[in-house]
């Protein structure tokens, strides 16, 4: 207690830390450790894990592919209605994922506004497919990339770019060699947050893509389904998610804090 941090802060921070870590401890305590192998194979852990990795990584890549250009437009262009556009793009962060899933269903489902056209013209159905799960996940995780990247772009001193173009760099060259390197930490932070959100995604996926082992049943969905038939297996599936997330968040911690 040598620091000058006021006591109430210590107390509240203590409550906060206990509140967040208690459920984790409870999970560890309730796990049937003596039957770990049986529980994991019974719950189809490897299949769900594989699918979760594929879905979350692809969704993160899509989020970067579409989110970074969006952030660029929001930070740098002078288009009318920019604040409305930003609000809409960021909306999935606060929207209940189920609502996002229902919206996707009405838009891209077999009977949806665009989906019925995809289905009748191209024979393409997204619902109940892995691509459906990827799109639902991208919907909820992309805003995190947009937010982080836009904040990063706004913090970059534009005189560096002006200097680059004065020295004869083309706009593309200055994006590649000047802006992107400075943006690195923010991009990484956005990507990690998006990936972490993607890994935990549940509501939009089950609503839009459904729940089928090996096709759309990611780890969170597998936890939800096996908790009925195999509570022990559900706990181990949850712990896989926890370990995976903590590993990446700890590994990325320095980058995220440096980005500020």
């Amino acid at each position: 207690m040598r620091s000058r941090t006021p006591l109430p802060l210590w107390i509240l921070a203590g409550f906060g830390a206990v509140f967040v870590s208690l459920p984790l401890v409870a999970l560890l305590m309730r796990a049937p450790w003596d039957d770990i192998a049986g529980s994991l194979s019974g719950a189809g852990a490897s299949e769900a894990l594989r699918l979760s990795v594929v879905v979350s990584l692809t969704a993160t890549a899509l989020s970067l592919l579409l989110g970074v250009p969006l952030a660029w437009i929001l930070a740098r262009s002078r288009i009318p209605g920019r604040s409305v556009l930003r609000a809409i793009v960021v909306l999935p962060i606060v929207l209940p994922p189920v609502v996002g899933g229902i919206g996707l269903l009405f838009a891209l489902g077999r009977g949806g506004v665009v989906g019925q056209w995809l289905y009748s013209m191209l024979g393409l159905q997204l619902t109940f497919t892995t691509w459906g799960a990827i799109l639902a996940t991208t919907f909820v995780s992309m805003p995190l990339v947009v937010l982080a990247t836009e904040a990063g772009l706004r913090s970059i001193d534009r005189r560096y770019e002006q200097a680059a173009s004065a020295l004869g760099a083309s706009p593309r060259y200055s994006i590649r060699r000047v802006v992107l390197p400075m943006l690195g930490p923010q991009l990484a932070a956005g990507a990690v947050l998006a990936w972490a959100r993607a890994l935990g995604e549940f509501g939009a996926t089950i609503t839009f893509a459904g729940n089928l082992a090996g096709r759309t049943q990611t780890l969170p969905l597998a936890v939800y389904e096996t908790r009925l038939t195999d509570p022990g297996g559900a706990i181990f599936l949850s712990l896989i998610l926890v370990v995976l997330s903590i590993a990446v968040l700890v590994a990325m911690r320095d980058r995220i804090t440096r980005a500020r």
Partner: protein, 253 residues
């Protein structure tokens, strides 16, 4: 900064002291999702009208989830389950009294109005390429659906057609009403009362159908046990039974 911290501390203390008031006239009923329309629109208000000063609070979810909540939270007065299995679980822990079977519910096949896969009987669920939507295993209606498919001798073929295992009945109906799936299996009560569901029913013959029997009981340790028994009596009595029949349930035999 100091002021903010003290304000937050004060808030925590204040809300911590509030909360538990005098709730003697509040009856908490945990009921299977399939009962939600009948209970919220008719039975709840009718019971409140008969017992002045009483408020009935409903918690609707899948029966398995409710059983889990009752065992960990113990705040329920009445439990109305969609299957005997989950009532048995609650009967073991924490225990029940006044247990009675109060309604039955039949399975029915549903399709979108345009019936894209041309489903005319339960056997058609085995046709190749049919997109079948079922509730997940462990959810009562999901287990019953699989039992009916087995009774019809098409378990293997039909289960290969499953495109999604939904979390509850309402989600199955939603997937069919929106036209995403070709066909699904739910309770008759899921489509009769919920009125505007845009789905078409295809009957499952009695000899392969699975009839779900719903038990209701007072949960041991109920904060409001007397009122709870009265609620059970009301649901199993003539008025309650008539209402439930309107909502697509059959009387328990």
């Amino acid at each position: 900064m100091h002021r903010v911290v003290w304000l937050a501390t004060a808030l925590v203390l204040l809300t911590g002291c509030g909360g538990t008031g005098d709730d003697t006239s509040e009856l908490t009923v945990f009921a299977a999702s399939s009962l939600s329309a009948a209970f919220t629109h008719e039975i709840g208000p009718a019971f409140e009208a008969e017992h002045e000063g009483t408020t009935v609070v409903f918690n609707f979810a899948a029966s398995d989830a409710l059983a889990g909540q009752i065992q960990s939270e113990g705040t329920a007065d009445v439990f109305a389950s969609a299957s005997g299995t989950w009532m048995d679980a609650v009967q073991d822990d924490p225990g029940v009294s006044d247990r009675q079977d109060f309604v039955q519910n039949r399975l029915v096949i549903i399709t979108p109005p345009e019936n894209p896969a041309g489903i005319g009987s339960i056997e058609d669920l085995a046709n190749e390429g049919v997109q079948l939507v079922l509730a997940a295993e462990g959810v009562p209606v999901g287990d019953y659906s699989r039992e009916a498919l087995a009774n019809a001798g098409i378990a293997k073929e039909a289960e290969a057609n499953i495109v999604t295992n939904e979390e509850d009945n309402a989600s199955v109906v939603a997937k069919i009403a929106s036209g995403e799936g070709d066909t699904g299996i739910v309770y008759e009560s899921d489509i009769s009362a919920a009125a505007d569901n845009e789905v078409v029913a295809v009957e499952i013959p009695d000899h392969v159908n699975v009839i779900a029997t719903y038990p209701i009981a007072v949960v041991t340790g109920a904060p409001n046990a007397d009122l709870a028994s009265e609620f059970v009596a009301f649901v199993t009595g003539p008025d309650g039974q008539a209402t439930l029949e309107e909502y697509g349930f059959m009387p328990a035999t």
